[in-house]
Amino acid sequence: MKVLVTVKRVIDYNVKVRVKSDNSDVDLSNVKMAMNPFCEIAVEEAVRLKEAGVATEVVAVSLGAKNCQEQLRTALALGADRAIHVESDEVLESLTVAKLLKKVVEEEQPDLIVMGKQAIDTDNNQTGQMLAALTGYGQGTFASEVKVEGGKAQVTREVDGGLQTVELALPAIVTTDLRLNEPRYASLPNIMKAKKKPLDVKTPADLGVEVTSHTKVLKVTPPAERQAGIKVASVEELVDKLKNEAKVI
């Protein structure tokens, strides 16, 4: 069974971004970049499927500028067998990413596609579902458990009220939630080995997809800042403030 896993290069999750003073975007110059945390979980899940003998090959895909090859190398160091970079310097909206991934899926014919549920930059939470619609595949989003057996995937999903389990015919798409697994760290020998693993580069034109815009970002502004309040000395004072000053209880 072949597993395709997507990895997005995003700002490191520990970094607090700032908005540029001209309100055109956030400032990403000199900011630490990393693999989207949900994609780390996706890679880990794919690699575990291989280690368990369920998957035979893990292919990592990333779309974007040249430097997302760094994250592909990380995926290779974590255990992916080979990588595909769809290179473009343009802003790739989720729908375009899904269209490009559909072409990759047509070429690669994976049985399972594991993606992050959400990229922590745009917080879109939509690319996996869009790819599922374009391919007509079933989807197990926000997965906290995945079992693959007999040509089917059973996915337990984190939903608002608790947990839901669905069964999907393969090929299918899974998007990862935080508790699916705990990703490993890449070891130094594996980082060295990853440098020799194959990494193919394609362009949207190679895949026959036109990069289009369906949205326009008019401005990016900082959120309303909260003022730090006061420290109270006791529970009694706290209760008094909540009753008589804030009037919320």
Partner: protein, 309 residues
């Protein structure tokens, strides 16, 4: 053209998130039609017909829609959506699940998690865990939108008298099926709609210790939430997680107990009206957003607080 709002419901009743979504839709301008897709969902449809501002209710009643499977519901919504200017749903786990499929089927973008309607085609949405707000214009003929419910007041549940119409078409994509679910049962108010939320973090130390939080929540009629660390440690179930990747809450009063205040947690609660932080570390970042901070051991504070309320 009219706006299609996809109702959140459990067949028997309409969920509160639908009411906030109707308010957002009203601000986009146009007649409001509400789709209730489910199985045996007439009761939810009748409730939707009473919501103030709703002009028409469409009911799609079929076994294929029983568990809101995204593969099936999206086919229905995309079919109906062709005749609307906007297709709008709450950004709940259900809306997040099927709406991007609808967008892709219609070959349009989805604008996720909007917090403000600037005009019929322009919306605000938080990005980077709420550290920036993007004002986004949709260039598509049909706008597919999910709504962050805390950004909009609830429409009145009573006062409307919309016509209810049955939709005949049934779509079963045949690629997925429902196996089962484990839903949390609680007498407390729903986390995302509660006026008061008391949340515990890793500092709680164990699931048993959440009884201390429950006792305070009982006194306040509050919902109980948690940080990711508390959920990951197995203290409480996943549906209690507040944050960038959990639930977004904006109550009148949010009490964070033994929570450090990581940006991912703040993303889910910093729009609360009043924030109280109880933490023994006076350097904890949560104090930077708290209106009232109490530097103390939570195991002393919680029993005392319960007594004084």
């Amino acid at each position: 053209m009219a706006i299609l709002v996809i109702a959140e419901h459990d067949n028997a009743s309409l969920k509160g998130a639908t009411l906030n979504t109707v308010t957002a839709a009203t601000q986009m301008g146009g007649d409001i039609h509400v789709l209730v897709a489910g199985e045996g969902c007439q009761a939810a449809a009748d409730q939707a017909a009473k919501v103030a501002g709703v002009d028409k209710v469409l009911v799609a009643d079929s076994a294929a829609y029983a568990h809101q499977l995204a593969e099936n519901v999206s086919l229905l919504v995309a079919e109906l959506g062709k005749d609307y200017s906007h297709v709008v749903a709450p950004a709940t786990t259900s809306g997040k699940n099927f709406m991007p499929r609808v967008a892709a089927l219609l070959d349009v973008a989805q604008v996720s998690d909007i917090t403000r309607v600037e005009s019929a085609d322009t919306f605000d949405r938080p990005i980077y865990a709420g550290n920036a707000i993007a004002t986004v214009q949709s260039l598509d003929a049909i706008k597919v939108i999910t709504v962050r419910t805390t950004g909009f007041d609830a429409a009145a549940a009573e006062g409307g008298s919309a016509a209810v119409e049955a939709v005949g078409s049934t779509h079963d994509a045949g690629v997925s099926s429902f196996v089962g679910e484990e839903m949390a049962v609680s007498d407390r108010p729903e986390l995302t709609a509660a006026k008061v939320v008391v949340s515990g973090g890793r500092g709680m130390g164990s699931g048993e210790n959440f009884a201390l939080i429950d006792a305070v929540a009982d006194k306040l009629g509050a919902a109980v939430g948690a940080s990711r660390a508390a959920v990951d440690a197995g203290f409480v179930p996943n549906d209690m997680q507040v944050g960038q990747t959990g639930k977004i809450v904006a109550p009148e009063l949010y009490v964070a107990v033994g929570i450090s205040g990581a940006i991912q947690h703040l993303a889910g609660m910093k729009d609360s009206k009043i924030i109280v932080a109880i933490n023994k570390d006076e350097e904890a970042p949560i104090f930077q957003v708290a209106d009232y901070g109490l530097v103390a051991d939570l195991f002393d504070v919680l029993p005392e607080l319960e007594k004084q309320l």
